[in-house]
Point group: C2
């Protein structure tokens, strides 16, 4: 099945206790599409500036990712600069230059409109709604957001939620959106807003999926070395949606396996800066770690 | 098998967003022994003051807990006052009055010395060493501690670790003890200090067990309502050690089931203030939630 992602492509400057890298490939659509391309056909809608290196375009193309919907505008590419502390938790944002991303108005090419699976990465809820108006009857729409939109565009976001099958949030976003501190109660509130399923991404503590059919808990792989946590959430989403689209999965039981694949891909992402680790990932590595994930919480 | 615990008995005053309770039963030995008594014979060494209510003694006795080693000294019982915020994370300590606990010198009664399973709750490492000198060849010794001892008595604590089979810590204690931020690397460092196994307690994010034989991840039960997190760690330890002693478990595979029982008991503890929920816990409730725990991370 074809999977559409609408999000950002960026040039990140990132400092962690393990090094600093300037203007490396970043952005939700970059991370997502590379992860998803391991399982299915992916098409991207995003915007870049004149300065966006051709090598990144070539990398995505080499993975079979369709880029007809990636427009190159006058001006510079979206840039983000962040610094992670010793605990590799939430980064400090040192600079955000939206540049061409500031006026991003997603236009879905005709050849994309019949995508069966759609992922709305973290962008303005109004733009997410405009994407939904341009696609033809997708089988599964999933959506990400952030506290900024929960605080500043709550009504638009709630309108999006009415049309979304699956929401992906982290702990604090789930609590903020629902306005209650218990994650279980908050999840129920979010499901009442429209989605059939909610996945709460918890970084090194794994992921929780809530739906009418129950709760599923996926562990996070305890890694020897985390080099750069950037992109973990977007590659989790890419792994999940890629696996779901690739196997045409629409039910809670199938989603469980997709959640584990999302966690597996995210665990590779953080082993190096940018998309380096997932760009060179081999199927055998993926299978091996998937098996290790399942083993992690087995009693015998 | 007989299980010995050496720790504190206290009167806690606790405020959470759901209420405030004054001078309720608290302390590591109280929580631990009540949890462990669901599975095995428990004997306690602790100290209380003249003001310690007889009803608490009666409660413990009614569960078959041996209290010969609980001495009543002149003065007041150890008191702790804490306040939890909306997120029910780490509490703010409003007052700590050690009282009779300040001069606690654990004396292990003759009838306890042959205990096969021993738990050293969070007390001064020097006292933990004195306990180890008083017991006869136990099969399994487990130990808890806190950042205060890691910072202030590191050498004494490392001496304790040489004689301990199983260490129980939380995330930050593990990282502080090892001096490295990666939990996997930190766990390896802690194991190199002596223990055959390390359990990292992560509250609502579950627990991780590390040993030579691998890593085990137990989820935490996503609760509808957490009323008071106090005692979760001590009842986790009590459930784990009680189950292990009750079934004479000494190996990694058996420990996995014990970890899940620890998590199950802790999930009940936090549903009410003090030991109220676990004092009235029925075997059928325990079994039902144990099954739900296993279901939580199953793929099919």
């Amino acid at each position: 099945m074809k999977l559409l992602v609408v999000g950002s492509m960026a040039l990140d400057t990132i400092e962690t206790p393990f090094g600093k890298e300037n203007n490396i490939l970043g952005g939700s659509a970059s991370y997502f599409s590379l992860a998803a391309s391991l399982f299915t056909d992916v098409c991207v809608v995003a915007v870049v500036g004149r300065d966006f290196p051709e090598e990144h375009i070539e990398l995505l193309k080499s993975k079979g990712i369709e880029l007809e919907g990636v427009t190159r505008e006058e001006g510079e590419t979206f840039r983000w600069e962040g610094k992670y502390g010793y605990d590799l938790g939430d980064p400090e944002t040192l600079a955000t230059d939206l540049n061409v991303f500031e006026n991003f108005k997603p236009v879905i090419p005709d050849s994309y409109r019949n995508s069966e699976y759609v992922f709305l990465a973290n962008i303005d809820p109004e733009l997410q709604l405009s994407v939904l108006n341009q696609v033809e009857n997708p089988k599964l729409v999933a959506c990400d957001t952030m506290n900024f939109w929960i605080e500043n565009k709550p009504e638009e976001l709630k309108e999006v939620l009415k049309h979304v099958d699956l929401m992906m949030l982290n702990d604090s976003e789930t609590r903020a959106l629902a306005g209650v501190p218990s994650i279980t109660q908050a999840a129920r509130e979010v499901l009442a807003m429209g989605p059939k399923a909610l996945i709460v991404k918890r970084g090194e503590y794994g992921a929780l999926m809530f739906s009418e059919e129950g709760i599923f808990w996926a562990p996070s792989y305890p890694l020897e070395e985390v080099v750069d946590p950037t992109g973990a959430g977007d590659t989790f989403a890419g792994g999940f949606m890629g696996y779901a689209a690739g196997h045409d999965i629409l039910d809670h039981t199938g989603f469980k396996t997709a959640v584990v694949y999302g966690s597996v891909i995210a665990s590779f992402t953080v082993e190096n800066f940018s998309v380096r680790r997932i760009s060179e990932l081999e199927a055998s590595e993926l299978d091996k770690r998937f098996t290790a994930f399942l083993q992690l919480s087995k009693l015998d």
